[in-house]
Symmetry: none
DNA sequence: AATGAATGAGTATTCATTCAT
DNA sequence: AATGAATGAATACTCATTCAT
């Protein structure tokens, strides 16, 4: 049995990189610093990684992978179960629910999904901070943040609220709203969590629940009858 | 009359820095590149600025200064006029309106204020991108983004919606909501404007008006009777 | 057995620095030149030393260290032996000799000590030149030259000449004399050795023995009955 | 009549250079610093001097000039008067005195000469420090310190003490002694005056008179019958 | 797996000096 | 006499990366 309290060198390098990249960005982090922080020699870093950039790529990619996998896992679970139990079926790419009860169950699950996403974001906030930082630079990671838009786009939450009454399309308005008022706040919440906490002196759980309430307000406003965006989304485009 | 098409060296250095910093961040921008882009010698940059970081500081500070000044100018204008005309008065640090008409006039002005802020943000989106980028690093600019929170906190828009019926306090919930669902989206909208435009193929004005509609939805939801946050804000703290 | 003719990189850097610093001073010596002279890359210099100044510090400090250690070694040796053999004893911080013979033996040893110091100075004349040069600048090495005063102050040569007849104190006069007419000439002799040799066309040994004779004259004049300084030193302060 | 309290620009530049060069050496002194210290613009320095080195040359040369001129003036005065009054005459390059009284008068004058030299050195100690500093570097000023040797060599003081009994030559021993135990201490006394004062807490006049006493001891020992050097000097070389 | 030594190609910054006015 | 702007040529120092062991 391996001593798990003493992480092996590669993992220490990764953790050191996460810490430092999230604090100062990849550019400003020196390979020396990573080596010191990880307690290994500089040369060993190059034994495990081809370059400093490769560490960055590794971090970002593994975040996106697990984000995607978490999303997929969770959705598949809900989907599979509900479909298997006949509470929901897929028709022409859209979802149809057996009854109002099924809808509500699904909405509950959707909330859980959001919270799970939030927890994931918070757990990985250091890497999200890195991703955010790098996405603002013109390099290859620029687009990575936008990949997260897909997580929103593909989320069946919104597809499902239109059950019954006609086609549903993502309007440009809705996409923009989702990106700048859902993805961006979520990502920023994770990225700035520690900074915000410091100036607000809220506890972890206070921060978290406050954010959840905020999300609910925004989502409610989106779903509510009066929502201009949704009306538009549902009715305008044939 | 001076030939304004030929900016003087210092201004060319500043513009070149804005362009390059917003593209790659300050760290990754080489002083050589700034010199080339500005069409000056490297040494001249050091004639005007003590260091590369000082250019960054200059950009960020001048942005915050003009943001603050725009906010102040605008607010003072509205305030002064309404108070002078007797439509509004300050009582115990809060605003009181003469009548419903005055309230509506003020709300209209508030919308104008937001749009003006938005236009300012878009005009200065390169520097805002820089600020966003640098605020994610652990250095002195970290806190600069949070200074913008004040622009939200001090905004009388929200103070006024509580006219008549009791004291109004910023709850922690409200502050967090304002930061992550107003400031952050606004700043991010400016910072990611060009990137988002590229993947959405919307025109400048389409982007802008779409964002305005989104803001309205969020603010409406905040103001509406059903708003948990506002109820809390108004009623909870004596 | 290692090939000692091929010094390792660090030593080559040190030797190159000694050569160049003593020729032109630290300021005027380019790190490039050190690298070329030592046959290493510039970067390797920074692998071993944090900065050019650190090389200087290293040289100066190691000189002072070995000067001190030589002085200590030699004195300890003479002291120990004479005390062990009962020819001398320490009383109230002063030395007392068994007889006139012991005194003369000790004076002989003192001369040996001075010659040994001289040889050390000549061997290390390049570094002494550096030290002299840097001690004239306002930085940290300014005081290093004055540390050498201690070597003179602590030297038991002068303490012993007062054997028998009363307390001996260093007067301000004596201190000044020792500094400007013993330490300074010795240090300058080493520092200007090569320059002086060039204009005088004396051989190494001619220079050396000429200097030794000069020192003897000065010391004799100091010790002689007629010496104002010594009379003062011995009698004035109770 | 000109306001002499407000020195003109050129003089301020010179004074600033003296101050800074003597503190840090010419290499380490920035033209900027001179400009700041002198309260002029950098460009003006180049109006008056062709380069930084030229300022250094100017300082050193003007020191040597006035040193030489003071020496000449003083000696000429004594010489002229004594010769005119028939107390002394030049014979075959040597001096002959009329009587013992004349000798003693001359020796008194010689002491005055030394003190005058000392005062000159102290007044110009900043520039002497600069000269000392630069003489240790390999550049053109290296030899300047040795020019001072001539002041000693040419000084008729020692020539005269051999009145009567035979030819007098400078032996190599004597030259070396004079350089390392007269010139060097004098120059060093000026160069290190402030530094030594700081560690000794002597007053200006205490320092000065202590040094004068030291010089007397050394010179007496040189002149005394028992002096090995002088015997040698007088008798050895035919 | 691990490392001490070594390096090429930068990189920010400096600085003496010039020049147009 | 005086200067603000401008610059070429360094210059100290950095850093990601490699390599022999």
């Amino acid at each position: 049995m391996k001593d798990t309290s003493k992480l092996d060198a590669k993992e220490r390098i990764i953790n050191a990189s996460i810490k430092l990249f999230s604090q100062k960005g990849c550019d400003a982090t020196r390979v020396n610093e990573i080596a010191d922080e990880a307690g290994v020699t500089k040369a060993l870093i190059y034994y495990y990684f081809k370059s400093k950039e490769e560490i960055l790529d590794h971090l970002v990619q593994s975040l996106l992978d697990s984000a995607a996998s978490i999303a997929m896992d969770f959705l598949r679970e809900i989907f599979m179960q509900m479909i298997k139990e006949g509470q929901m079926k897929m028709e022409e790419g859209r979802l149809r629910f057996a009854n109002q009860e099924a809808v509500e169950y699904f909405l509950q699950s959707a909330h859980k999904y959001i919270e799970q996403l939030l927890d994931f974001a918070l757990e990985n906030r250091a890497i999200i901070r890195i991703l955010t930082l790098e996405s603002l630079k013109g390099d290859k990671h620029q687009s990575k943040l936008f990949q997260m838009l897909k997580l929103g786009e593909d989320a069946p939450i919104l597809k499902t609220i239109s059950q019954g009454e006609g086609e549903f399309y993502y309007t440009d308005d809705l996409k923009l709203f989702l990106f700048f008022f859902s993805i961006i706040p979520l990502v920023s919440f994770a990225a700035y969590f520690d900074d915000y906490q410091e100036i607000s002196s809220l506890s972890d759980s206070e921060m978290r629940s406050s954010f959840v309430r905020s999300v609910q307000i925004v989502l409610n406003s989106l779903i509510s009858e009066s929502s201009y965006l949704m009306h538009n989304a549902i009715k305008t485009r044939p």
